[in-house]
């Protein structure tokens, strides 16, 4: 199950906690790696900074990416993921509060695989997390590399 981890890039600790709870409630037991901002997410993926020396061949099954974050924003993280040969096929789902058309369009332009707006109602959020996990972790097939 080690290689079936989820990378959650989220700067709001409340959202981190609630997201993790939602996944648990949805019976998704994959390891959830949390990056508190874009820089940390990139460090984790490319084995730099505080993740130096990490075995980068171990990649998450899914990246849940917030857009509005300090230092490096979600769109920039996505651009770097898609620009790197090692990570360009990684499934990335934008999970954000923003419902702006602009953000939607730019995310898909950058190569996001999905865009999910976080609802205020936690029950709806749990429902969304369950469906996300079911789809991306069980149904969806990704090439082996």
């Amino acid at each position: 199950m080690k290689d079936k981890s989820i990378l959650l890039v989220e700067d709001n600790p409340d959202d981190v906690k609630l997201t993790i709870r939602a996944f648990k409630k949805a019976n998704i037991l994959n390891e959830i790696v949390v990056a508190a901002d874009g820089a940390e997410a990139l460090d984790y993926l490319f084995g730099s900074g505080k993740f130096a020396g990490r075995d980068t061949s171990v990649k998450p099954q899914l990246v849940l990416l917030d857009l509005n974050m300090p230092k490096i924003g979600g769109l920039e993280v996505l651009r770097r993921i898609r620009a790197d040969a090692r990570t360009k096929l990684l499934p990335v789902v934008i999970l954000t509060t923003s419902g702006e058309e602009k953000d939607l369009v730019e995310s898909y332009n950058m190569g996001a695989n999905s865009y999910v707006r976080k609802p205020v109602d936690f029950e709806q959020f749990t429902d969304a997390a369950q469906k996300l996990g079911l789809y991306w972790l069980l149904l969806n097939k990704v090439p082996r590399y």
Binding site: D14, T97, S98, K118, P119, D121, F122
Partner: protein, 627 residues
Amino acid sequence: MPKQRHVSIRKKLITTFLTFATISVVLLGALFFTSARKELQSVHIAQLENIADLKKDRIELYFRERQGDIVTAANAYDIKRTLPLLGRLAADPSDPVFRETYRKLDIHTKQYRDVYGYLSIILTDTRGRIVYVSPESQMKERLGKHIYPENAFAEGKKDVYFSDILRNSAAESGFEIMASAPVRDARGAFAGVIAFEMDMTPVYKLFQDTTGLGRTGEELIVRREGSAALFLSPLRYDPDAVLKKKALFDETRAFPAQMAVQGRRGAGLVYDYNGVEVLAAWRYVPSLRWGLVAKINAAEAFQSVVALRNMVIAIAAGIIVLGVLAAMLFARSFSAPIMALQKGAEMISSGNLDYRVGITSNDEIGRLAAAFDNMASSLGRTTGELRRKATALETSNMELEAFSYSVSHDLRAPLRGIDGFSLVLLEDYAEKLDNEGRDALERIRAASQRMGLLIDDLLKLSRVSRAELKRERVNLSKIAGRIAEDLRKTGPGRCVEFVIADGITHEGDERLLSVVLQNLLGNAWKFTEKHENARIEFGMADCHGAAAYFVRDDGAGFDPSYSDKLFMPFQRLHAMYEFSGTGIGLATVQRIISRHGGRVWAEGEVGKGACFYFTLDERDIDEERHS
């Protein structure tokens, strides 16, 4: 733009000037020429009349003198005494008595020949036969014959008579006139006739004097012969015309000669015997039955005025040429600044607001140019101001965008936290809370979710205000139909009849107009949910000649006294527990309709349903804003 032929001011000015100058010069010239010609004609006519009168007087004087001569001779004692004797003796000229008598008489008559220049002196007997002729050389030929012309005897025996002009080779001029008068003897009985043959030379000399008649003028005498005028004097350029040349009365030429011989007196511009236009004066001399004409060619008479006319034409042509040149220069000085203005206008309209015409002349064009430059300056200032305002507006729009974004993102995140952790409490610590605690948590959750909706609707309203309008033909009926289908799916158990008019289209932004219909139809759906059977209608009505679209329902309706509050954000006419909603939908509708230049209003009554009307693309948007 329809094509219009461009005619420059210069061309117009020159054409106008040329027309005006030519017309005025021609008119003035013609007026001047006619009046000068008329004046000159009257001067010439007066002169010709003077000449004609003078010549007539002279002729009459001359012939009165000759009359005196012959009367004196007829009353001379020698002749009165001798003539009866001669009548008896003349049968034999060789008779010494005749010869003696002749010689004695010859001494007396010789003085008439020598002193007065008569060609011959003739005496006849009572029957008209010549009994005496001086000079003697003619004796042989003429003695005993009847005197010729016959009138000389026939008229002469009554009174002094001047014959018509006759040929006579002996006369210096080749022509003579015979004057005759009766001679009476001592007892007063008719004894015969005395006749003088007079050379015409002295008369003709009178006519050779062409003083005052110029190069072409001449004087002539004529007499009537049947229906023609016969020329009696040698003409200036035709010395052999005497007794040969005639002018028939029915011809237009030789008018003055014809008038004269018919006893008329007059003057005028007429045609002479050569068919040449002349100024002439004509007189009649009754004692001799002569017509007298003095004339001068019109061409010569008017020569000075013609020369003057030519000079005037030359000067006028010169003035016109100079005028055209002046007009061209003036037009250039006039059109150059106008063209500069035109260029200025083009420069400014192409966006170069710093361009200045800079014409500093002190006339109207200068003032126009100054006003133009002022206009350009103020246009520049205004445009600058507008640009600054546009930039400020753009900045504030961007700030608003950023604000909306952070509202959307940053305000919702804590709400999710409040809701999420309330749920955590409810789920994980439910047994530690009593009912009141659990109820409070539920209320916290409901409130935070409601705030989420409010935020979302506010964002929609702000997006509707900021979104760019894309105009295309929108099929409102189709959109309404689609929305109706969507609504049906949300409440499969409900019994709602949708009546949607076909083929309603209008120019506008499809996405925004969809929002309008979503709100209006959504409201109708919502406010009919408590009715078992409902009817929702979308259609078109006539509103003061313009098309008004409406959405009508037979639902809860509203109190019409609050109808002005309907379209204000967050204003709700129904309690939360009755109908859900944020109170922003109709505000959004109004914003969209207003952006389409239309109006929206509602009619309704509590419990009797509501009808929402809206128009698009009306002119008087302001009216709606003020009301």
